[in-house]
């Protein structure tokens, strides 16, 4: 299965970047899980956790506030003015 190319970006730096098998984030409409092959999407984030599952099964959590999520051909970008690894 193809992997997602994820980057979590804050205003002043790139917080995390790498490959992942799943990303779960909270948008204004509720939580959304993204798997490889997801259709292109742009969503506004509600403040909260972003959970990234790595191909190996480990999990990384980051907090993101005040930003958006974009998905396009297996590249996921979590962009928030404030973001940090939890």
């Amino acid at each position: 299965m193809a992997a997602l190319n994820v980057s979590v970006v804050a205003a002043d730096q790139e917080v995390w970047a790498g490959e992942a098998s799943m990303v779960v984030a909270r948008t204004v409409e509720g939580e959304i899980g993204i798997l490889p092959g997801h259709e292109p999407m742009l969503a506004i984030l509600a403040g909260g956790e972003v959970r990234v599952t790595l191909p190996g099964g480990e999990k990384i959590t980051a907090t993101a506030e005040d930003g958006f999520l974009s998905v396009q051909s297996d590249a996921v970008q979590v962009v928030a003015s404030r973001a940090a690894l939890a």
Binding site: S7, V9, A10, A11, D12, Q13, E14, T27, V28, E29, I32, E39, P40, M41, L42, A43, I44, D66, G67, F68, S70, Q72, S73, Q77, V79, S81, R82
Partner: protein
């Protein structure tokens, strides 16, 4: 020791002290340029991501937004000026202030009223010395800009933009800042921030030469809300970028100014050393002449 000689020695000493200070400042700003540049580089992923997202929304939806529509009449325009808190940076601040004066002149000739938002102590000093009014100012932290300040500035200008111009708001926002090109060159940049000009994605060619096609996005909750959320963030990132660029440019300008100050002090020291040597030599010559003259007078009187 002759008076002349003492004066020269004093001048040499003071030039040497000045040189030490300017040399230290040159080295400090040299190391700060690197940090400031690194911060500019670190913030590019963010602004790239936002720019892509904005153009994606703008090209795949025909939503018109209040931030992108040209107002029918522009009565008031705002200029945001990015200067530094401290001087000793050569033409850095005067360059930006001159550009903004020119812009203000142009806007006034188009019948617009101009209001100012100032960033950095130098611009505030410039305005209060001339007893001119400004809308708001931010002082401190221009050497190491924080994103929170950028957010505050963005909130203030957006608030002014969204207010009616009859009510003290503005219809146009311009920014003037120094862009860091290299350690040698800093260019003052004047751009219009609002209303935004949206360039359709189709016209933009990727570096590889082929046109990048944006896929059909699904928007959550909907295109309008997404654009609503994105555009203020885009403005924030533009302002933050201007602040970072201006900080890097300030350090580069300081380094250049301090380098020439050090060189100048060196030249002064050489010049004064020459003059001091000459003074000392002429003093000795005169003393010899006096002794010889005295001995002559003594021997001839015998």
């Amino acid at each position: 020791m002759g008076a002349q000689l003492r004066v020269y020695r004093q001048k040499i000493k003071s030039a040497q002290t000045t040189k030490k200070i300017t040399r230290a400042m040159e080295l400090i700003s040299a190391s700060r340029i690197q940090k400031a540049q690194a911060r500019v580089a670190a913030s590019t992923p963010y602004s790239d991501a936002i720019t892509r997202a904005v153009s994606a929304v703008a090209s795949y939806s025909n939503v018109s937004h209040v931030l992108t529509t040209e107002p029918e009449r522009v009565d008031r325009a705002a200029i945001v000026i990015f200067t530094s808190d401290r001087g000793l940076a050569g033409a850095f601040n005067s360059q930006v202030l001159r550009e903004s004066e020119e812009l203000a002149e142009l806007l006034r000739s188009q019948g617009k009223e101009v209001v100012y938002f100032l960033i950095g102590r130098k611009s505030v000093g410039y305005f209060s010395f001339r007893r001119r009014d400004y809308e708001r100012s931010w002082i401190g932290g221009t050497d190491n800009p924080e994103f929170d300040t950028a957010k505050e500035v963005a909130d203030a200008v957006l608030e002014a933009f969204l207010r009616d111009s009859a009510d003290g708001g503005v219809d146009e926002i311009h920014i003037v800042y120094n862009r860091f090109v290299s350690r040698i060159t800093q260019v003052p940049v004047v751009t219009r921030l609002l209303p935004l000009e949206v360039v359709e994605a189709e016209e933009e060619a990727a570096p590889s030469g082929k046109v990048e096609v944006f896929p059909l996005y699904e928007f959550e909750p909907d295109a309008e809300t997404v654009l609503d959320g994105l555009l203020p963030v885009y403005i924030e990132s533009r302002i933050f970028n201007a602040m970072l660029q201006s900080a890097a440019a300030k350090h580069a300008a300081t380094q250049k100014a301090m380098k020439s100050a050090t060189d100048n002090a060196d030249k002064l020291i050489t010049d004064y050393t020459r003059l001091a040597n000459e003074a000392r030599q002429s003093e000795i010559t005169q003393q010899i002449a006096e002794i010889v003259g005295g001995a002559d007078a003594l021997s001839s009187s015998k």
